[in-house]
Amino acid sequence: MTEQRRESHRATILDPGGAAFAVESAGLTKRFGRQLAVDGVDLAVPRGSVYGFLGPNGSGKTTTIRMLLGLVRPTAGRHALLGGSLPRDADRVLPRIGALVEGPAFHPYLSGAANLHRLDAADRTADPATAAARVATALDRVGLAVAAGKRYRAYSLGMRQRLALAATLISPRELLILDEPTNGLDPQGTREVRALISAVAAEGATVLLSSHLLSEVAQICTHVGVMHRGRLVAQAPLEDLRAGTMPRARVETDRPEDAAAVLRELGLTDVISGPGIATGELGGTAPEKVVAALVHEGVPVRGFAVAVADLEELFVSLTGAGFDVSG
């Protein structure tokens, strides 16, 4: 995306096919009665990114996604998908978007293939002549080809989840919005879904992926946004967040106060000492110099480690409570 294009995008939010952001929102807010479910969310999902939309259960992710797709009317704010502002351009942009919202939902007495045909029949932009081939391809991609003729009610939870993913792939898509796509899948299924998402992203599609588990998405995301109690508390490329987590030196000793003094002297920041332990942010200081200095000062070193703060810890700190706790 050239700088010029970016500028023209800013000037007119509607630039079909050329907008810098696949998903963009400003002040998106939803109030259910007295409860503020989503509070002024400004999403910016760059084209071609795999955006991990993270947050504990109940933090407003699903309501945000429902607003993006036009299922729930925002109390305030506006948003655009693929450069088209919603709800005005829904007919133009939604056919280019595959969505999985809050779990699979299909007609139980229809087969998997028949369910996909029904969704395709509802799509006014879909070519009926190619429907059978597109449905077969989509089922094949998620590994459901053999179960295509089976009734949906006989599907296992994992198969249902796959069918919902297949539904997002019936037509060529520029954007996939996937709400908890690995819910209910076993570890093997989770890996397969991750591989599928990566493959779709590699073909150029943008993916917005929600999850309450960072570990589920950290491996495939390029960007993350973190929701907490209805607010988007962080949004950045994953690289930037990783860079923000500085390595820390961790000294095990029976004289933590003395160790802490040495660390401070060496220029380490955020030095903390506790019973039998002293830690500090290394910054540019080499770890071997720290050990040498400690020994030189006669501080008994029982153990030494350099730890990069886990991303998970970062998110826990952002969302205050633990990651699995409803906000």
């Binding site: 029949a121 509802a122 932009t125 898509r173």
Partner: protein, 287 residues
Amino acid sequence: MSAVSAHAPIPVARGLSTRLLRSELGLIFGRRRNQFGLVVLAAIPILIAVGVKIASPNPEDVAAGPDFLGAIAGNGIFVAFAALSASLPAFLPLAVAAISADSIAGEANLGTLRYLLTVPVRRTRLLAVKYAAVVIFSFVAVTWMALAGVLAGLALFGGGPVVLFSGDQVSLGEGLLRLLAVCAYLTVGLAAFGAIGLFVSTLTEQPLGATIALVMLAVGSFIVDTIPQLDWLHPYLFTHWWQAFGELLRDPVTMDGLWPGLRSAAAYTLIFLTAAWARFADRDITS
């Protein structure tokens, strides 16, 4: 999927297509429950025909019975009229209630509504298609029952010229045409009920609850219609004019009894389709 790129051609909506409507009809007529319902609807005229045959081998014995039942022995085609008349207070409204209640509430209950809307299907279009399917189902249910009645009646009592209520005689062919007109008239009435059903269906995510509410409404309307003290209310009841289809069995056909029925049905249809749209167009879909 290789078409996935920032510059993929923007998909364009094709012209008017019946694909979604056909899918909708496939759902309705492919569902076991509904197929069973249609079997029950066909069983009613067959039961009437067999019952009349067993009870009265002699035509004179039933001469004092209700109009349609009395006429059956003379001509089998009246089995169809008798069955339609007997089913108006319960079976036909129940069938239409089940289908129309399911239209939106059923999809909401399954969760498929959110996926249809994000395909996307415009909400107005979804209501239009759902309602069209309800009307088509109503017509199929009525004519299906009439057809079963004609076949059972002709098999057990034979055909021949049809003696109308006015005493005139018309050919069997014209009798069948008049039966078709009756089916069309009843479809209009049931379609008005279907519009109420579509509206109720937008209020809830429980199709069964909506069905029960609609059946209670229809039966309640029939009961109120039989209370003489409430006769000022009768013309406003949506079921009041259904039995007027007998007017089509006079010669000449007097529209005096039919016009009010058609006007009433049109008013109910208009009001409740508008209400359904007003309710559904803006609703938050949280199912």
